[in-house]
């Protein structure tokens, strides 16, 4: 992918940051307003996709390489599992620790915001990696994802 025209690039540069901030807001305030980890993660992935479409894949891979996307994917999933296991240690799988009822703040819902962040990171990295793998498949001839061994 080579990227698009100058107008598209300029607009993208302006918009991408706002999309990212919006995504972060959606993730952090998921327990108070509509949204949540998954939605925010998809929006974040959308902003990466927008960058990829406008500037070409090299630009977005410079920000987040495929390998880094894979690792963030694992890290997010593991973080969510660890949230569950902390609860397990304290008495029950996914026990909601630290919940402060009805205070309407960022910290009020115990594990929910933490889990939202973990899911957001996970989903954004996963979808970005998946999109890159799907979108660039043909351009490199046969093969899109590198091998080990």
């Amino acid at each position: 992918m080579r990227g698009m025209s100058l107008i598209v690039k300029t607009v993208t540069r302006l918009v991408a940051e706002f999309i990212t901030i919006f995504a972060v807001y959606i993730v952090l305030f998921g327990h108070l307003t509509p949204g949540g980890g998954f939605t925010g993660g998809v929006i974040l992935a959308c902003s990466f996709v927008l960058l990829t479409l406008a500037f070409g894949k090299d630009f977005s891979l410079h920000i987040l390489s495929k390998r880094a996307a894979g690792i963030w994917d694992s890290v997010g999933a593991l973080a969510f599992l660890i949230v569950a296991l902390i609860g397990y240690k304290a008495g029950a799988f996914f026990l909601n620790l630290w919940a402060k009822p009805a205070t309407f703040t960022l910290k009020s819902a115990g594990i929910i915001p933490i889990a939202n962040i973990a899911i957001g990171v996970k989903v954004a990295a996963a979808l970005f990696g998946g999109f890159i793998a799907l979108a660039v498949f043909r351009r490199h001839g046969p093969g899109g994802y590198e091998e080990d061994e």
């Binding site: 327990h31 999933a77 046969p142 899109g144 091998e147």
Partner: protein, 184 residues
Amino acid sequence: MFDALPHIYTLIFLMIVGSVIAIETRDLLSTVISIGAVGFLLSLVYLMLGAPDLAITQVVVEIIVLVTLIRLTVTRDDTTVDEHRDVFALGSGLVFGGLLLAASIYCFQDAVAFGSPLMTVSQGYLDKSLQLTGAANVVMAILLDFRAYDTLGEATVIFTAILGAYVVLRKIGRKHDAGDVPHS
């Protein structure tokens, strides 16, 4: 009081029309765009039925899906469908679909009516989620506290699928130099 019903009927009707167009049109790009329209209509339905979380999610997921599907179709040469109608498939499809619909007319007679769900379990979630979990968004409280184990599964599903996509898109699957057949 705002009566959502007529709007809902219109939207669902449009969804059905859009799906039929998506399935029957010959040009693959039109197919993809129609299905995108159906998805956005669905997000409107969510919005009208009191599900803003779902509406947002549906819109953003739809965008990603559309971009990917359009890339799938426009970068390939094979963009139109040469329709050779399979009469047998069409006939059996119609018969099976008709049977399913007839059965559903019969069986939905004693479904719990639209607009008044039983809420045997979920009324409790609605009443107490703010006190018990501290989350004002009850959907999120269910998703990440009452049924967080489901959400772990959900996160795993997307992890699995992306990993599966990586696996399927590998350059080479088998090592052919490993001496498969000793005496070939």
